[in-house]
């Protein structure tokens, strides 16, 4: 999805940087990166460092950063939409109306990026400092405690104790239930199929009226 946009906008000074939140590292991320074969940087973030630094709670989440290293749109879902919830949970078939909704949301997001790349700070999608700060989710004590628990779990899994890691993942999930990164990464370390299986759908369904992708209403 980002390669075509990069090819189009690179001459105007645009660069996507893709960050893989994958505790299993290259082993997990390599097949996907090799298949896409992108020419922009794709980095591997085993410890979810970028998630913590920029307060990302899901994938895909994106942050817009201008030429001076300033955040002009804080973390938000990147062109995704909750319409995916209408897909069949086992066959992954998507009804036509949901598919149209997904495509419309994605197009709107790509157009917003184009507008920003063309107009810079004058783009209506480049937020004022005040608005960017207002939209920024800042971590609470529970959130940083969740991150420390997640990090300890990730470390235990890395040194060969995946079973013992789960209790720290559970604590991270309890302290920060809105982080799908914690939920899905923990499932994936247990069993790669679990992160998109019945447990995942049950957790998504349990959201009820709440959004899986709480998108901004200006794109």
């Amino acid at each position: 999805m980002w390669q075509a946009l990069y090819t189009e906008l690179a001459p105007k000074g645009f660069l996507p940087i893709a960050v893989a939140f994958d505790s299993a590292g290259n082993e997990a991320a390599a097949p996907w990166i090799k298949a896409a074969n992108p020419t922009y940087p794709c980095i591997i973030d085993r410890r979810h460092i970028v998630a913590e630094l920029f307060d990302m709670v899901n994938v895909p989440n994106a942050v817009w950063i201008d030429e001076n290293g300033k955040i002009v749109r804080p973390s938000e879902p990147a062109g995704s939409s909750d319409a995916f919830r209408k897909m069949d949970h086992t066959t992954f078939a998507i009804p036509p109306d949901a598919l149209a909704e997904l495509q419309a949301k994605r197009s709107a997001y790509l157009d917003a990026i184009r507008d920003w790349v063309d107009k810079g700070a004058a783009s209506k999608f480049a937020l004022s400092e005040e608005e960017a700060v207002r939209r920024m989710h800042t971590p609470s004590d529970d959130h940083v405690r969740a991150a420390a628990n997640f990090r300890l779990g990730e470390y235990l899994a890395e040194i060969g104790h995946p079973q013992d890691a789960q209790k720290y993942f559970a604590e991270a999930k309890r302290l920060r239930p809105e982080s799908w990164n914690y939920k899905r990464q923990a499932w994936a370390l247990e069993d790669p199929m679990k992160a998109g299986g019945p447990e995942f759908w049950a957790a998504v369904d349990a959201l009820g009226e709440k959004k899986y992708y709480p998108t901004s209403d200006d794109i």
């Binding site: 000074g13 660069l15 996507p16 940087i17 893709a18 960050v19 893989a20 939140f21 994958d22 290259n26 997990a28 991320a29 390599a30 097949p31 996907w32 990166i33 090799k34 794709c42 980095i43 591997i44 460092i49 970028v50 998630a51 913590e52 630094l53 920029f54 899901n58 994938v59 895909p60 989440n61 994106a62 942050v63 817009w64 950063i65 201008d66 030429e67 290293g69 300033k70 955040i71 400092e129 700060v133 920024m136 800042t138 971590p139 004590d141 940083v144 991150a147 420390a148 990090r151 300890l152 470390y155 235990l156 104790h161 013992d164 720290y168 990164n181 899905r184 994936a188 790669p192 992160a195």
Partner: protein
Amino acid sequence: MAIDIIYGERVTKGVDADTKNGLWLSAEDFKRVAGFERKPEGFCKGEQCYPVPPARKADFENIGRYNLAALAELIGQPMVADESHQVWCFGEAAENRKRALTSLEAPDFSLPDLEGRVHSLSEHRGKKILLVSWASW
């Protein structure tokens, strides 16, 4: 006792520590693990110093050792320990994260790609960056 300490992005293995009533390290290890030094002003990292409350001096230092758990509590850093595998993990204080994020200055990071080449955000100054997450799961 030899333990592993995760302190932010730094992991130090096999640190000699006394884990009774805190996490007591030698001055040398205290600096190596956490980057803090004991100075007259308090515990300091670079320009930033945290004064030790006089009434609680004994919680922080004892016979040439300093208590990293007490310092974490003073600063507001989360600490989680797994005693069965002897791993102590210290995170970032919420206050620091909050200050960094609301400054709107994008925090820098350095992470490898598949080939092991390290990329930093700051090396791309002058471009409009879309920093976007994904995962295999």
